[in-house]
Each structure stands twice: as C-alpha cells, then as structure tokens.
C-alpha cells in the first residue's frame, strides 16, 4: 500500500517538474530579451535540481543528492556570471 502511494506521488511529482522544465525552456527560447533568457535558464536549473532529488527518492540512493547539490551550485555561479555580463559587458574585470 505505502509502495503504491509513494510510486504514484513520485510519478506525479516527476511529471509536474518536467512540465515546469518545459515551461522554463519555452521562456528561455522565446526571450524576448537577454534577461528573460537568463531567468529561464536559472529556473531550468532549479527545476532540474528538484527533479534529480525526486529521482533519488525513487531509487532510494543518496548519491543523487550530491548530483543535485552540484547542479544547484553550478546554476548559482552561471546566473551570477550572466547577470554580471549583462550589467558590465564582461564577467571578470
């Protein structure tokens, strides 16, 4: 019984997170300006981080936690670098 509950909850959560990733990707492709694309990329990063966390719950393996932590850190650095680039025209001054 509890396996069935968990299976369906995890499946629904994965479907919702995938739809959220598709919406963020649509915003990243549509734009219309550079800051919208950066915002879409940041949302895509967060959604993929959560999706991998849910995947770790599905497999029962704590290894996926580290993958998702690394994705979160990379997303932070990427968004800060891109925002800096939009502000100044170069990343490291």
């Amino acid at each position: 019984m509890s396996a069935t509950i968990l299976f369906w909850a995890i499946t629904f959560a994965q479907i919702m997170l995938t739809i959220a990733m598709v919406l963020a990707l649509t915003r990243m492709i549509k734009g219309p300006r550079a800051q919208d694309r950066v915002l879409g990329l940041d949302t895509l990063y967060v959604n993929s981080m959560l999706l991998i966390l849910v995947f770790g719950i599905r497999t029962g393996n704590t290894l996926y936690f580290e993958v998702s932590l690394i994705i979160g850190i990379l997303g932070f650095v990427a968004t800060v670098a891109l925002a800096k680039f939009l502000m100044r025209g170069e990343v490291i001054e």
Binding site: S2, L23, L50, L53, I73, V80, L82, L86, M87
Partner: protein
Amino acid sequence: MNHVADFPLWMAWFVAAFLIIGAGLTLIGSFGLYRLRSFYDRIHAPTLGTSWGTAAIVLASIIYFSVLQSRPVFHEILIGIFVTITTPVTFMLLGRAALYRDRSEKNPEVPAMDSPKSILDELKLMDKPESVYLESGERE
C-alpha cells in the same frame, strides 16, 4: 520500488504530500514565468519554486531517507540552505542588470534615474547658490 515494501503507511502519506506540494508549487512558479507579461513581473514567479518548492521536496527527502535508513538523515538540508541564500542574490543582481539596461536604452516603462545634472539645473532656476542647497541636506 520494492525497497519500500515495509515503509510505514502514515510516513508514506507525509512523503507523498510534501512531494506533491513541492512539485506543484514549482510548476505554478514556472507557469508564472511563462505567462506573466513584463520582465519585472516574471522575476517574482520562479521564487515560488526556490522557496517552498525546494523546501517541501527537501523535507520529503529527509523524511523518506530517515525512515528508510532508520536513522536521522539531514544532509539534504544543505540544498535547502544553499538555495534559500543564493536565490535572492542572483535575482537582485539580475533585476539590477535589467534595470540598468532598460535605463540606458531610455525605456519609458521604467522610472528614470534622478541625475545630478537636473538638480543643478533646478537650482539655477531657483537662483540659489549650490553650496547652500548641498549643505542644508533637504534632499539627498
């Protein structure tokens, strides 16, 4: 999914509820990012996913692995803390960059910056010496 055969039922409901809440909030946030009209509206929407979306999924993960391994497992809280700290930083940087770009393009939809030059012009119209105005501290 056969490793959860002896998972307690009420704990399973907790994990399921937190998973659905977290994923649903993330979906609502991403839908707002897709649907809202201007950039300054859109920058608010994904924070739904990075605040309670992340917190609920992290809570579900903590409960699940604590029950599964029969000991407290708290390392997922690192993700929660990290995301909570970094999201305001990135979005403030991004918002300031967007505002700077809009202002430098003289976009009429954003408020223009009060330039020092216009204050000096105002002073000349009022026929008042600049030093008096600057020292009196009526206005920054």
